[in-house]
Subunit: 272 residues, 2 copies
Amino acid sequence: MKIAVVAPSSRFSEEAAARVEAIAAERFAGVEIVFHPQCFFRHNHFAGTDEARAHALVTVANDPGFDAVWFARGGYGAGRIAEAAIAALGPAARDKAYLGYSDAGFLLAGLYRAGFPDVAHGPMPQDALRDGGEAAVERALAWLTRRDPASLEGGLEPGERHAAFNIAVLGAIVGTPLEPDLAGHVLLLEDVSEYAYRTDRALGHLTAQRGIRAVAGLRLGRVSDVPPNDPDFGESEEEIARFWCARAGIEWLGRADIGHDAANKVVPFGSL
Amino acid sequence: MKIAVVAPSSRFSEEAAARVEAIAAERFAGVEIVFHPQCFFRHNHFAGTDEARAHALVTVANDPGFDAVWFARGGYGAGRIAEAAIAALGPAARDKAYLGYSDAGFLLAGLYRAGFPDVAHGPMPQDALRDGGEAAVERALAWLTRRDPASLEGGLEPGERHAAFNIAVLGAIVGTPLEPDLAGHVLLLEDVSEYAYRTDRALGHLTAQRGIRAVAGLRLGRVSDVPPNDPDFGESEEEIARFWCARAGIEWLGRADIGHDAANKVVPFGSL
Protein backbone atom coordinates (compact mmCIF):
# COMPACT_ATOMS: atom_id res chain seq x y z
CA MET A 1 0.00 0.00 0.00
CA LYS A 2 1.61 3.18 -1.21
CA ILE A 3 0.14 6.63 -0.72
CA ALA A 4 1.43 9.71 -2.54
CA VAL A 5 1.10 13.13 -0.95
CA VAL A 6 1.10 16.27 -3.09
CA ALA A 7 0.25 19.85 -2.15
CA PRO A 8 -1.96 21.52 -4.78
CA SER A 9 -2.77 24.55 -2.63
CA SER A 10 -0.90 26.46 0.09
CA ARG A 11 2.57 25.81 1.48
CA PHE A 12 2.99 22.63 3.46
CA SER A 13 5.52 21.95 6.22
CA GLU A 14 8.17 19.36 7.04
CA GLU A 15 6.79 19.30 10.57
CA ALA A 16 3.36 18.06 9.50
CA ALA A 17 4.96 15.51 7.19
CA ALA A 18 7.14 14.18 10.02
CA ARG A 19 4.14 13.76 12.30
CA VAL A 20 2.21 11.90 9.64
CA GLU A 21 5.19 9.62 9.00
CA ALA A 22 5.49 8.89 12.71
CA ILE A 23 1.79 8.01 12.99
CA ALA A 24 1.99 5.77 9.93
CA ALA A 25 5.15 4.02 11.15
CA GLU A 26 3.61 3.31 14.54
CA ARG A 27 0.10 2.25 13.53
CA PHE A 28 0.02 1.42 9.83
CA ALA A 29 2.68 -1.22 9.23
CA GLY A 30 3.26 -1.90 5.56
CA VAL A 31 1.89 1.45 4.48
CA GLU A 32 4.36 3.65 2.67
CA ILE A 33 3.62 7.37 2.51
CA VAL A 34 5.62 9.21 -0.14
CA PHE A 35 5.73 12.97 0.22
CA HIS A 36 6.46 14.23 -3.27
CA PRO A 37 9.25 16.84 -3.07
CA GLN A 38 6.79 19.41 -4.42
CA CYS A 39 5.09 19.36 -1.01
CA PHE A 40 7.92 21.49 0.31
CA PHE A 41 8.23 23.89 -2.60
CA ARG A 42 7.36 27.51 -1.99
CA HIS A 43 6.17 30.09 -4.46
CA ASN A 44 4.49 33.11 -2.89
CA HIS A 45 1.22 31.89 -1.38
CA PHE A 46 1.56 28.44 -2.90
CA ALA A 47 3.46 25.18 -2.50
CA GLY A 48 5.35 25.88 -5.71
CA THR A 49 4.28 27.43 -8.99
CA ASP A 50 1.09 26.38 -10.72
CA GLU A 51 3.23 24.31 -13.10
CA ALA A 52 5.09 22.55 -10.29
CA ARG A 53 1.93 21.75 -8.35
CA ALA A 54 0.10 20.48 -11.41
CA HIS A 55 3.10 18.45 -12.55
CA ALA A 56 3.47 16.72 -9.18
CA LEU A 57 -0.22 15.86 -9.04
CA VAL A 58 -0.32 14.52 -12.58
CA THR A 59 2.87 12.50 -12.03
CA VAL A 60 1.72 10.66 -8.92
CA ALA A 61 -1.86 10.23 -10.16
CA ASN A 62 -0.66 8.64 -13.40
CA ASP A 63 1.86 6.42 -11.59
CA PRO A 64 0.40 2.88 -11.25
CA GLY A 65 2.74 2.31 -8.29
CA PHE A 66 0.55 4.44 -6.03
CA ASP A 67 -2.77 3.33 -4.56
CA ALA A 68 -3.91 6.73 -3.38
CA VAL A 69 -3.28 10.45 -3.71
CA TRP A 70 -3.64 12.38 -0.48
CA PHE A 71 -3.80 16.15 -0.66
CA ALA A 72 -1.41 17.65 1.89
CA ARG A 73 -3.51 20.62 2.91
CA GLY A 74 -5.97 23.29 1.83
CA GLY A 75 -5.49 27.04 1.93
CA TYR A 76 -5.77 28.21 -1.63
CA GLY A 77 -4.46 27.18 -5.02
CA ALA A 78 -6.02 23.90 -6.22
CA GLY A 79 -8.56 25.78 -8.35
CA ARG A 80 -5.78 27.30 -10.42
CA ILE A 81 -4.53 23.90 -11.58
CA ALA A 82 -7.47 21.51 -11.30
CA GLU A 83 -8.90 21.73 -14.80
CA ALA A 84 -5.61 21.31 -16.65
CA ALA A 85 -4.28 18.65 -14.27
CA ILE A 86 -7.40 16.50 -14.49
CA ALA A 87 -7.32 16.72 -18.29
CA ALA A 88 -3.83 15.20 -18.16
CA LEU A 89 -4.81 12.13 -16.11
CA GLY A 90 -4.72 8.69 -17.73
CA PRO A 91 -6.25 5.30 -16.88
CA ALA A 92 -3.91 4.58 -13.94
CA ALA A 93 -5.23 7.72 -12.26
CA ARG A 94 -8.73 6.26 -12.11
CA ASP A 95 -7.58 3.25 -10.12
CA LYS A 96 -6.69 5.18 -7.00
CA ALA A 97 -8.33 7.01 -4.16
CA TYR A 98 -8.17 10.78 -3.65
CA LEU A 99 -8.67 12.33 -0.25
CA GLY A 100 -8.80 15.93 0.98
CA TYR A 101 -11.14 18.79 1.88
CA SER A 102 -11.30 22.57 2.06
CA ASP A 103 -9.46 24.03 -0.96
CA ALA A 104 -8.83 20.48 -2.22
CA GLY A 105 -12.56 20.54 -2.99
CA PHE A 106 -11.72 22.04 -6.38
CA LEU A 107 -9.98 18.75 -7.21
CA LEU A 108 -12.60 16.52 -5.59
CA ALA A 109 -15.22 18.33 -7.70
CA GLY A 110 -13.35 18.03 -10.96
CA LEU A 111 -12.32 14.40 -10.37
CA TYR A 112 -15.85 13.40 -9.45
CA ARG A 113 -17.22 15.21 -12.45
CA ALA A 114 -14.72 13.35 -14.62
CA GLY A 115 -16.07 10.06 -13.32
CA PHE A 116 -13.26 9.07 -10.94
CA PRO A 117 -14.82 6.40 -8.74
CA ASP A 118 -12.91 6.85 -5.50
CA VAL A 119 -12.95 10.47 -4.38
CA ALA A 120 -13.51 11.43 -0.75
CA HIS A 121 -13.77 14.46 1.53
CA GLY A 122 -11.76 13.97 4.70
CA PRO A 123 -8.70 14.79 6.81
CA MET A 124 -5.37 15.79 5.32
CA PRO A 125 -1.74 15.54 6.49
CA GLN A 126 -1.80 19.18 7.66
CA ASP A 127 -4.41 18.17 10.25
CA ALA A 128 -1.57 16.46 12.15
CA LEU A 129 -0.75 19.93 13.51
CA ARG A 130 -4.19 20.43 15.05
CA ASP A 131 -4.97 19.73 18.69
CA GLY A 132 -5.95 16.08 18.62
CA GLY A 133 -4.94 15.96 14.98
CA GLU A 134 -3.39 12.54 15.33
CA ALA A 135 -6.91 11.08 15.39
CA ALA A 136 -7.73 12.86 12.14
CA VAL A 137 -4.62 11.46 10.45
CA GLU A 138 -5.37 7.97 11.71
CA ARG A 139 -8.96 8.27 10.49
CA ALA A 140 -7.76 9.27 7.05
CA LEU A 141 -5.20 6.46 6.89
CA ALA A 142 -7.72 3.91 8.13
CA TRP A 143 -9.98 4.92 5.28
CA LEU A 144 -7.21 5.08 2.67
CA THR A 145 -5.71 1.71 3.63
CA ARG A 146 -8.70 -0.42 4.53
CA ARG A 147 -11.86 1.64 3.94
CA ASP A 148 -12.52 1.47 7.67
CA PRO A 149 -16.25 2.16 8.20
CA ALA A 150 -15.37 3.83 11.51
CA SER A 151 -13.79 6.64 9.51
CA LEU A 152 -17.05 7.51 7.79
CA GLU A 153 -19.40 10.34 8.66
CA GLY A 154 -22.10 8.68 10.76
CA GLY A 155 -25.13 9.80 8.77
CA LEU A 156 -24.15 8.42 5.37
CA GLU A 157 -26.78 5.99 4.11
CA PRO A 158 -26.13 3.01 1.84
CA GLY A 159 -28.06 3.49 -1.37
CA GLU A 160 -27.73 7.29 -1.21
CA ARG A 161 -25.18 9.38 -3.01
CA HIS A 162 -23.18 12.01 -1.15
CA ALA A 163 -20.77 14.87 -1.71
CA ALA A 164 -19.13 17.21 0.78
CA PHE A 165 -17.59 20.64 0.38
CA ASN A 166 -16.45 23.77 2.08
CA ILE A 167 -19.12 26.40 1.40
CA ALA A 168 -16.75 29.08 0.08
CA VAL A 169 -14.96 26.58 -2.14
CA LEU A 170 -18.15 25.15 -3.63
CA GLY A 171 -19.29 28.73 -4.20
CA ALA A 172 -16.21 29.23 -6.36
CA ILE A 173 -16.81 25.96 -8.25
CA VAL A 174 -20.43 26.34 -9.34
CA GLY A 175 -20.79 27.50 -12.92
CA THR A 176 -17.23 26.51 -13.79
CA PRO A 177 -15.95 23.50 -15.76
CA LEU A 178 -15.20 21.81 -12.42
CA GLU A 179 -18.81 21.72 -11.18
CA PRO A 180 -19.98 18.13 -10.74
CA ASP A 181 -23.53 16.95 -11.27
CA LEU A 182 -24.87 16.72 -7.72
CA ALA A 183 -28.46 15.97 -8.69
CA GLY A 184 -29.92 13.49 -6.24
CA HIS A 185 -26.95 13.72 -3.87
CA VAL A 186 -27.08 14.50 -0.18
CA LEU A 187 -24.81 17.55 0.04
CA LEU A 188 -22.75 18.04 3.21
CA LEU A 189 -21.31 21.52 3.74
CA GLU A 190 -18.93 23.05 6.27
CA ASP A 191 -17.08 26.31 6.61
CA VAL A 192 -14.47 28.13 8.66
CA SER A 193 -13.36 31.69 9.39
CA GLU A 194 -16.25 33.36 7.59
CA TYR A 195 -18.38 36.16 8.95
CA ALA A 196 -22.01 35.11 9.41
CA TYR A 197 -23.11 37.57 6.73
CA ARG A 198 -20.74 35.89 4.29
CA THR A 199 -22.06 32.44 5.10
CA ASP A 200 -25.54 33.83 4.52
CA ARG A 201 -24.50 35.36 1.20
CA ALA A 202 -22.66 32.20 0.12
CA LEU A 203 -25.60 29.93 0.95
CA GLY A 204 -27.96 32.31 -0.84
CA HIS A 205 -25.74 32.01 -3.90
CA LEU A 206 -25.35 28.25 -3.70
CA THR A 207 -28.98 27.42 -3.06
CA ALA A 208 -30.05 29.57 -6.02
CA GLN A 209 -27.97 27.51 -8.47
CA ARG A 210 -29.93 25.19 -10.70
CA GLY A 211 -27.44 22.37 -10.04
CA ILE A 212 -27.60 22.74 -6.28
CA ARG A 213 -31.40 22.93 -6.28
CA ALA A 214 -31.32 19.40 -7.72
CA VAL A 215 -29.66 17.85 -4.66
CA ALA A 216 -31.60 15.35 -2.54
CA GLY A 217 -31.02 17.47 0.54
CA LEU A 218 -28.50 19.43 2.54
CA ARG A 219 -26.71 18.64 5.80
CA LEU A 220 -24.66 21.26 7.59
CA GLY A 221 -21.35 20.40 9.18
CA ARG A 222 -19.50 22.62 11.60
CA VAL A 223 -19.07 26.30 10.85
CA SER A 224 -16.15 27.28 13.04
CA ASP A 225 -13.92 30.24 13.94
CA VAL A 226 -16.65 32.67 12.90
CA PRO A 227 -15.37 36.24 13.44
CA PRO A 228 -17.77 38.45 15.41
CA ASN A 229 -20.33 40.13 13.20
CA ASP A 230 -20.87 43.83 13.98
CA PRO A 231 -23.74 44.13 14.75
CA ASP A 232 -24.54 40.59 15.80
CA PHE A 233 -26.02 38.65 12.88
CA GLY A 234 -28.77 37.32 15.09
CA GLU A 235 -29.07 33.95 13.36
CA SER A 236 -27.07 30.79 13.97
CA GLU A 237 -25.45 28.96 11.08
CA GLU A 238 -28.23 26.39 11.29
CA GLU A 239 -30.92 29.07 11.07
CA ILE A 240 -29.11 30.52 8.06
CA ALA A 241 -28.93 27.15 6.32
CA ARG A 242 -32.57 26.35 7.09
CA PHE A 243 -33.64 29.75 5.79
CA TRP A 244 -32.00 29.23 2.42
CA CYS A 245 -33.04 25.60 2.12
CA ALA A 246 -36.65 26.59 2.72
CA ARG A 247 -36.49 29.37 0.16
CA ALA A 248 -34.86 27.15 -2.44
CA GLY A 249 -37.04 24.12 -1.86
CA ILE A 250 -34.04 22.06 -0.77
CA GLU A 251 -34.69 19.50 1.90
CA TRP A 252 -32.99 20.28 5.21
CA LEU A 253 -31.52 17.04 6.51
CA GLY A 254 -29.88 18.25 9.71
CA ARG A 255 -26.30 18.50 10.87
CA ALA A 256 -23.20 16.62 9.67
CA ASP A 257 -20.03 15.51 11.40
CA ILE A 258 -17.56 17.32 9.16
CA GLY A 259 -15.61 20.52 9.64
CA HIS A 260 -12.24 22.22 9.83
CA ASP A 261 -11.24 20.30 12.93
CA ALA A 262 -9.75 17.05 14.19
CA ALA A 263 -13.17 15.36 14.30
CA ASN A 264 -13.74 15.78 10.55
CA LYS A 265 -15.10 12.46 9.24
CA VAL A 266 -14.70 10.92 5.80
CA VAL A 267 -17.39 11.40 3.12
CA PRO A 268 -16.83 9.32 -0.02
CA PHE A 269 -18.38 10.98 -3.08
CA GLY A 270 -21.19 9.04 -4.72
CA SER A 271 -22.54 5.87 -3.16
CA LEU A 272 -20.90 4.06 -0.26
CA MET B 1 -37.08 66.40 -8.79
CA LYS B 2 -37.72 63.96 -6.00
CA ILE B 3 -35.32 61.23 -4.95
CA ALA B 4 -36.29 58.41 -2.60
CA VAL B 5 -33.66 56.77 -0.43
CA VAL B 6 -34.16 53.25 0.89
CA ALA B 7 -31.70 50.92 2.61
CA PRO B 8 -31.93 47.36 1.23
CA SER B 9 -28.76 46.17 2.96
CA SER B 10 -27.00 47.08 6.22
CA ARG B 11 -28.04 49.61 8.84
CA PHE B 12 -27.88 53.24 7.79
CA SER B 13 -27.39 56.28 10.03
CA GLU B 14 -29.11 59.58 10.73
CA GLU B 15 -25.70 61.22 10.53
CA ALA B 16 -25.13 60.23 6.90
CA ALA B 17 -28.67 61.28 6.01
CA ALA B 18 -28.15 64.70 7.62
CA ARG B 19 -24.95 65.27 5.67
CA VAL B 20 -26.62 64.34 2.40
CA GLU B 21 -29.52 66.66 3.14
CA ALA B 22 -27.10 69.51 3.91
CA ILE B 23 -25.24 68.98 0.64
CA ALA B 24 -28.47 68.84 -1.33
CA ALA B 25 -29.87 71.96 0.37
CA GLU B 26 -26.72 73.93 -0.37
CA ARG B 27 -25.99 72.83 -3.93
CA PHE B 28 -29.07 71.21 -5.43
CA ALA B 29 -31.91 73.71 -5.12
CA GLY B 30 -35.28 72.23 -6.01
CA VAL B 31 -34.15 68.68 -5.35
CA GLU B 32 -36.06 66.91 -2.63
CA ILE B 33 -34.45 63.88 -1.03
CA VAL B 34 -36.87 61.70 0.90
CA PHE B 35 -35.31 59.24 3.31
CA HIS B 36 -37.90 56.52 3.72
CA PRO B 37 -38.31 55.77 7.45
CA GLN B 38 -37.09 52.24 6.75
CA CYS B 39 -33.59 53.69 6.29
CA PHE B 40 -33.34 53.95 10.05
CA PHE B 41 -34.87 50.61 10.98
CA ARG B 42 -32.62 48.06 12.62
CA HIS B 43 -32.95 44.30 12.61
CA ASN B 44 -29.77 42.46 13.51
CA HIS B 45 -27.29 43.06 10.68
CA PHE B 46 -29.88 44.76 8.50
CA ALA B 47 -31.77 48.04 8.12
CA GLY B 48 -34.97 46.30 9.14
CA THR B 49 -36.35 42.86 8.42
CA ASP B 50 -36.35 41.42 4.91
CA GLU B 51 -40.05 42.27 4.72
CA ALA B 52 -39.54 45.88 5.82
CA ARG B 53 -36.65 46.47 3.43
CA ALA B 54 -38.47 44.92 0.49
CA HIS B 55 -41.68 46.77 1.28
CA ALA B 56 -39.93 50.17 1.41
CA LEU B 57 -38.15 49.52 -1.88
CA VAL B 58 -41.28 48.37 -3.66
CA THR B 59 -43.29 51.29 -2.28
CA VAL B 60 -40.98 54.05 -3.45
CA ALA B 61 -40.16 52.33 -6.75
CA ASN B 62 -43.84 51.99 -7.62
CA ASP B 63 -44.60 55.56 -6.55
CA PRO B 64 -44.84 57.78 -9.67
CA GLY B 65 -44.04 60.78 -7.45
CA PHE B 66 -40.38 59.80 -7.28
CA ASP B 67 -37.88 60.29 -10.11
CA ALA B 68 -35.15 58.13 -8.66
CA VAL B 69 -34.39 55.49 -6.06
CA TRP B 70 -31.05 55.89 -4.37
CA PHE B 71 -29.73 53.00 -2.30
CA ALA B 72 -28.53 54.29 1.08
CA ARG B 73 -25.55 52.02 1.49
CA GLY B 74 -24.09 48.57 0.92
CA GLY B 75 -22.92 46.11 3.53
CA TYR B 76 -25.07 43.05 3.09
CA GLY B 77 -28.72 42.26 2.61
CA ALA B 78 -29.98 43.33 -0.82
CA GLY B 79 -29.57 39.82 -2.20
CA ARG B 80 -32.10 38.48 0.29
CA ILE B 81 -34.87 40.70 -1.07
CA ALA B 82 -33.95 41.53 -4.65
CA GLU B 83 -35.78 38.78 -6.52
CA ALA B 84 -39.11 39.16 -4.73
CA ALA B 85 -38.96 42.97 -4.67
CA ILE B 86 -38.24 43.27 -8.39
CA ALA B 87 -41.07 40.88 -9.18
CA ALA B 88 -43.41 43.29 -7.37
CA LEU B 89 -42.43 46.36 -9.41
CA GLY B 90 -44.94 47.91 -11.80
CA PRO B 91 -44.70 50.30 -14.76
CA ALA B 92 -43.96 53.40 -12.63
CA ALA B 93 -40.85 51.68 -11.36
CA ARG B 94 -39.38 51.54 -14.86
CA ASP B 95 -39.56 55.30 -15.26
CA LYS B 96 -36.99 56.10 -12.63
CA ALA B 97 -33.27 55.88 -12.06
CA TYR B 98 -31.60 53.51 -9.59
CA LEU B 99 -28.17 54.25 -8.17
CA GLY B 100 -25.88 52.33 -5.83
CA TYR B 101 -22.90 49.98 -5.69
CA SER B 102 -21.32 47.30 -3.50
CA ASP B 103 -24.09 45.12 -2.03
CA ALA B 104 -26.67 47.17 -3.97
CA GLY B 105 -25.23 45.32 -6.97
CA PHE B 106 -27.73 42.53 -6.32
CA LEU B 107 -30.47 45.03 -7.16
CA LEU B 108 -28.63 46.64 -10.06
CA ALA B 109 -28.19 43.17 -11.53
CA GLY B 110 -31.79 42.12 -11.13
CA LEU B 111 -33.20 45.44 -12.34
CA TYR B 112 -30.96 45.45 -15.39
CA ARG B 113 -31.85 41.86 -16.14
CA ALA B 114 -35.53 42.81 -15.88
CA GLY B 115 -35.01 45.48 -18.54
CA PHE B 116 -35.05 48.59 -16.37
CA PRO B 117 -33.51 51.27 -18.57
CA ASP B 118 -31.89 53.56 -16.01
CA VAL B 119 -29.71 51.60 -13.60
CA ALA B 120 -26.29 52.86 -12.54
CA HIS B 121 -23.32 51.94 -10.35
CA GLY B 122 -22.15 54.89 -8.30
CA PRO B 123 -21.89 56.67 -4.93
CA MET B 124 -24.45 56.25 -2.18
CA PRO B 125 -25.59 58.44 0.75
CA GLN B 126 -23.36 56.49 3.15
CA ASP B 127 -20.35 57.80 1.23
CA ALA B 128 -21.04 61.17 2.88
CA LEU B 129 -19.20 59.78 5.91
CA ARG B 130 -15.98 59.09 3.97
CA ASP B 131 -13.04 61.48 3.90
CA GLY B 132 -13.88 63.73 0.96
CA GLY B 133 -17.24 62.01 0.73
CA GLU B 134 -19.04 65.25 -0.02
CA ALA B 135 -17.63 65.05 -3.55
CA ALA B 136 -19.04 61.56 -3.96
CA VAL B 137 -22.51 62.67 -2.86
CA GLU B 138 -22.38 65.67 -5.19
CA ARG B 139 -21.28 63.45 -8.05
CA ALA B 140 -24.20 61.12 -7.42
CA LEU B 141 -26.71 63.96 -7.18
CA ALA B 142 -25.32 65.62 -10.30
CA TRP B 143 -25.94 62.39 -12.15
CA LEU B 144 -29.36 61.74 -10.62
CA THR B 145 -30.63 65.27 -11.22
CA ARG B 146 -29.11 66.27 -14.55
CA ARG B 147 -27.13 63.28 -15.87
CA ASP B 148 -23.98 65.38 -15.53
CA PRO B 149 -21.34 63.86 -17.83
CA ALA B 150 -18.68 64.93 -15.32
CA SER B 151 -20.04 62.29 -12.94
CA LEU B 152 -19.29 59.48 -15.36
CA GLU B 153 -16.36 57.12 -15.27
CA GLY B 154 -13.89 58.58 -17.75
CA GLY B 155 -13.38 55.52 -19.92
CA LEU B 156 -16.98 54.84 -20.88
CA GLU B 157 -17.42 54.91 -24.62
CA PRO B 158 -20.57 55.92 -26.48
CA GLY B 159 -21.82 52.97 -28.49
CA GLU B 160 -20.50 50.47 -25.97
CA ARG B 161 -22.49 48.79 -23.23
CA HIS B 162 -21.18 48.73 -19.67
CA ALA B 163 -21.88 47.21 -16.30
CA ALA B 164 -20.03 47.59 -13.01
CA PHE B 165 -19.92 45.44 -9.90
CA ASN B 166 -18.11 44.61 -6.74
CA ILE B 167 -16.24 41.36 -7.39
CA ALA B 168 -17.56 39.48 -4.34
CA VAL B 169 -21.12 40.62 -5.03
CA LEU B 170 -21.04 39.62 -8.69
CA GLY B 171 -19.59 36.30 -7.58
CA ALA B 172 -22.72 35.75 -5.49
CA ILE B 173 -25.00 36.78 -8.37
CA VAL B 174 -23.76 34.54 -11.19
CA GLY B 175 -25.88 31.46 -11.70
CA THR B 176 -28.82 32.94 -9.78
CA PRO B 177 -32.08 34.39 -11.10
CA LEU B 178 -30.53 37.87 -10.67
CA GLU B 179 -27.70 37.37 -13.15
CA PRO B 180 -28.03 39.79 -16.07
CA ASP B 181 -26.95 39.05 -19.60
CA LEU B 182 -23.60 40.84 -19.84
CA ALA B 183 -22.69 39.51 -23.29
CA GLY B 184 -20.93 42.22 -25.25
CA HIS B 185 -20.63 44.53 -22.25
CA VAL B 186 -17.47 46.10 -20.93
CA LEU B 187 -17.42 44.87 -17.34
CA LEU B 188 -15.93 47.13 -14.66
CA LEU B 189 -15.05 45.47 -11.36
CA GLU B 190 -13.84 46.72 -7.99
CA ASP B 191 -13.38 45.23 -4.55
CA VAL B 192 -12.58 46.08 -0.96
CA SER B 193 -11.33 44.34 2.18
CA GLU B 194 -10.56 41.03 0.50
CA TYR B 195 -7.36 39.05 0.89
CA ALA B 196 -5.44 38.77 -2.38
CA TYR B 197 -6.02 35.02 -2.46
CA ARG B 198 -9.76 35.64 -2.27
CA THR B 199 -9.67 38.13 -5.11
CA ASP B 200 -7.74 35.53 -7.08
CA ARG B 201 -10.29 32.84 -6.26
CA ALA B 202 -13.23 35.13 -6.99
CA LEU B 203 -11.84 36.20 -10.36
CA GLY B 204 -11.09 32.58 -11.22
CA HIS B 205 -14.72 31.78 -10.49
CA LEU B 206 -16.13 34.74 -12.37
CA THR B 207 -14.00 34.43 -15.47
CA ALA B 208 -14.91 30.73 -15.77
CA GLN B 209 -18.63 31.51 -16.02
CA ARG B 210 -20.13 31.15 -19.47
CA GLY B 211 -21.96 34.46 -19.06
CA ILE B 212 -18.88 36.38 -18.02
CA ARG B 213 -16.78 34.88 -20.81
CA ALA B 214 -19.19 36.58 -23.20
CA VAL B 215 -18.28 40.12 -22.06
CA ALA B 216 -16.54 42.48 -24.47
CA GLY B 217 -13.74 42.99 -21.99
CA LEU B 218 -12.86 43.67 -18.39
CA ARG B 219 -11.62 46.81 -16.67
CA LEU B 220 -10.41 46.73 -13.08
CA GLY B 221 -11.26 49.49 -10.65
CA ARG B 222 -9.62 49.98 -7.30
CA VAL B 223 -9.08 47.03 -4.99
CA SER B 224 -8.63 48.68 -1.61
CA ASP B 225 -8.06 47.87 2.07
CA VAL B 226 -6.53 44.52 1.15
CA PRO B 227 -5.51 42.74 4.38
CA PRO B 228 -1.93 41.45 4.37
CA ASN B 229 -1.65 37.98 2.83
CA ASP B 230 0.57 35.60 4.82
CA PRO B 231 2.79 34.81 3.00
CA ASP B 232 2.76 37.70 0.56
CA PHE B 233 0.63 36.83 -2.45
CA GLY B 234 3.32 38.09 -4.79
CA GLU B 235 0.93 39.41 -7.43
CA SER B 236 -0.81 42.77 -7.62
CA GLU B 237 -4.54 42.96 -8.23
CA GLU B 238 -3.80 43.93 -11.81
CA GLU B 239 -1.57 40.90 -12.34
CA ILE B 240 -4.31 38.73 -10.87
CA ALA B 241 -6.96 40.18 -13.18
CA ARG B 242 -4.70 39.92 -16.23
CA PHE B 243 -3.90 36.30 -15.37
CA TRP B 244 -7.55 35.26 -15.29
CA CYS B 245 -8.52 37.35 -18.31
CA ALA B 246 -5.76 35.69 -20.32
CA ARG B 247 -6.79 32.23 -19.22
CA ALA B 248 -10.48 32.86 -19.94
CA GLY B 249 -9.95 34.61 -23.27
CA ILE B 250 -11.47 37.82 -21.91
CA GLU B 251 -10.00 41.02 -23.25
CA TRP B 252 -8.10 43.03 -20.64
CA LEU B 253 -9.06 46.66 -21.10
CA GLY B 254 -7.05 48.27 -18.30
CA ARG B 255 -8.02 50.07 -15.13
CA ALA B 256 -11.27 51.82 -14.19
CA ASP B 257 -12.05 54.80 -11.97
CA ILE B 258 -14.43 53.05 -9.60
CA GLY B 259 -13.96 51.72 -6.08
CA HIS B 260 -15.01 51.83 -2.45
CA ASP B 261 -13.88 55.42 -2.03
CA ALA B 262 -14.88 59.04 -2.49
CA ALA B 263 -13.58 59.09 -6.07
CA ASN B 264 -15.98 56.36 -7.22
CA LYS B 265 -17.45 57.47 -10.56
CA VAL B 266 -20.84 56.68 -12.06
CA VAL B 267 -21.26 53.80 -14.53
CA PRO B 268 -24.72 53.61 -16.13
CA PHE B 269 -25.61 50.06 -17.11
CA GLY B 270 -26.05 49.44 -20.81
CA SER B 271 -25.29 52.19 -23.34
CA LEU B 272 -24.62 55.80 -22.40
